[in-house]
């Protein structure tokens, strides 16, 4: 009961802070968009619209109100879960996002999986065999991969692997005729739900290169952080104590060293989640995937205020959520943080 109260207190505090952050983010971006030149009413009315038509649209969209009023009505709608209407698609932004989000989330999720699945084992081995061949080669690889512009890597790999060698699809999210009924909007998931193995592997085949490219830069960061953190932990006294008990290297690494070096890695992957969605724009463009990157890019280009706001709010929410998850994971991993954050003295 006590623990439950402590957890809910912790959660509500974090959620409160996250909401505060989101509100700040929304306000900032709202202001930014309103400061941008360009006339939304004109964009909505069309390039060839006459002045009278533009004014009519302006009135209809409520753009004739003072900016501060627009801000408040925006906040009011936001509270009701309404992200506003896109002036380009003339659709509720939420509906638009529903179409583009799953694809991006799928990409980012798989990239994150790849990222961790490659970087963590590599980091462990490199740190344990510090100075060995694996350490040297993986560090060089990390530096090289981390040094290439993501879109450049994407273009080159797309050409070499996709166009010339044809080992992966060149672009797109699935092959012709492989679409499964839409449930989530993410092709791999939808294929799974439709129990269509072929479609699932087809979608996976399409996502693997984009996800790998996206993961590359981030994996190098995780690898380096984990390696450094592990080296620190491996030097610490309790590792010697574990060895003095006669533990095998494997036991020592997995049960003691790794959990103790996870904290900076968790923190880093929290910040990476947001950055990944940001970088998804580049990868989505190259691989012709329909995701939030392309949507947002288009929205900014068209001064589609609510579409931009909606996208940013979404990314902000993901970032806040991921950070919340990271906080909770840290809490679960480390009893000291648990004690400090939850205030329970472990009774």
């Amino acid at each position: 009961m006590l623990a439950f109260r402590a957890y809910s207190w912790f959660l509500s505090r974090r959620l409160g802070l996250a909401l505060l952050t989101l509100w700040g983010l929304a306000s900032l971006v709202f202001l930014m968009i309103k400061l941008m030149p360009g006339d939304e009413a004109q964009m909505a009315a069309g390039a060839d619209a006459s002045a009278a038509q533009i004014e009519a649209v302006r009135e209809r969209l409520g753009l004739d109100a003072p900016v501060i009023m627009q801000y408040f009505s925006f906040l009011g709608r936001l509270l009701r879960g309404d992200l506003g209407t896109s002036i380009v698609t003339l659709q509720p932004v939420l509906a638009d996002l529903e179409k583009v989000l799953p694809s991006t989330l799928e990409l980012v999720f798989i990239a994150m999986l790849l990222n961790l699945a490659v970087a963590i084992p590599a980091g462990i081995v490199a740190a344990y065999r510090q100075g060995g061949v694996f350490d040297a080669t993986s560090r060089v690889t990390a530096v090289m991969l981390g040094g290439m512009p993501a879109f450049w890597l994407a273009l080159v790999l797309q050409y070499v692997l996709g166009s010339v060698w044809r080992v992966v699809p060149i672009s797109g999210q699935q092959s012709y005729g492989m679409a499964s009924p839409i449930v989530t909007g993410a092709p791999t998931l939808d294929a799974l739900m439709a129990l269509n193995v072929g479609a699932f592997f087809d979608a996976l085949h399409h996502i693997i290169l984009p996800a790998a490219v996206l993961a590359a830069l981030f994996a190098t960061q995780i690898f380096r952080t984990l390696r450094a953190s592990l080296l620190g932990v491996l030097r610490s006294d309790f590792i010697m104590a574990v060895r003095a008990k006669g533990a095998t290297a494997r036991h020592m690494l997995v049960r003691h060293a790794l959990p103790n070096s996870l904290n900076p890695v968790l923190t880093l992957s929290g910040t990476q989640a947001g950055a990944m969605i940001g970088s998804a724009v580049l990868v989505e463009t190259v691989f012709a995937r329909q995701g939030i990157g392309a949507y947002m890019f288009n929205a900014v280009a068209q001064k589609d205020a609510f579409a931009v706001l909606g996208s940013v709010m979404f990314i902000g929410t993901v970032v806040c959520l991921v950070n919340l998850i990271v906080d909770i994971l840290q809490l679960l991993v480390d009893p000291r943080i648990r004690a400090a954050q939850l205030g329970s003295q472990g009774q």
Binding site: A241, A244, K245, A247
Partner: protein, 338 residues
Amino acid sequence: MKTVHPLPDEASVVPVRQPLITVEKLTVDMPLGRSGSSVRIVDGVDFTIGVGERVALVGESGSGKSLTARALMRLDRLAKLSGRVDFDGTDLLKLSDRDMGKLRGSSIAMVFQDPMSFLDPLMTIGDQVAETLRIRGIGKAEARKRALAVLDELGVDRAAERLDAYPHEFSGGMRQRVVLAMALVGEPRLLIADEPTTALDVRVQDQVLDLLDDVSTRRGLAVLFITHDLGVVAGFAERVMVMYSGRIVEDGEVASVFAKPSHPYTQGLIKAVPRIDQDLNTLYAIPGAPPPPLARPSGCPFHPRCDQRFDRCGVDLPALQPVGMSRVACHLLDGKGA
């Protein structure tokens, strides 16, 4: 609860003990950066610890006590060891890593200086104590039961409830008991205790010493007790070895060393301790500071700080020679001194 163990009468003859571990010409070299060069920290140490014997290793910070102790268990991955460490007839320095691993925790165990930093902060106390057994394939329930028994034996109250607590929830003294339990649960024959009380305040230190005392007597456990506090040595050990700059400079029965220290360094150390049971006067202070391993003076490493030095001290390295019941490394005792 506690059994009170009668203290040995110091007049009684020292029992002749079966040697448990014999160290011959042990050197420890530590690498220096990437250059491939290394520095000799422990420089040719010989000693024996008998079965059930309690030996103290004292010396100033940096003199190489910990590295010597860890060399016995080959715990420093980077250290280059040479010499012989004979444990029960096998040379530990020649064992494979696997076999050495099997020995650790079951034949030789270690208790460390700072109980906090030697406990994994993310694992419960119970799991950490039981781990020594679990590694050896003992079942979870059984390991836990035995862990609990050891914790109980060491006077951790409400031990059963506290198996699931984390190290940070324990006080310093309790943590030291846990660390001790970790060492004892594998039923070793030699316990190396590296400054197990230095981080504790006097009262807790006292409790831990009592505990060690009890356990070693009850289990017939040999203890190598490392400390820089001579007061602690006096109350606990049977034999004391004084280390200075990587070498043993004096080794003898506690009673005789304290009564009549032979080496000027030992004399200085004893005089420098403020005593609660004597009159007040200005404390004796050994001038200067111990040399770092890379800048050891020639000859006797102690000579720049020694108030009885003479010409030869700066030239020749004195060897550890038997002097009465003890062994001492000092030119003064060659009979040619001032």
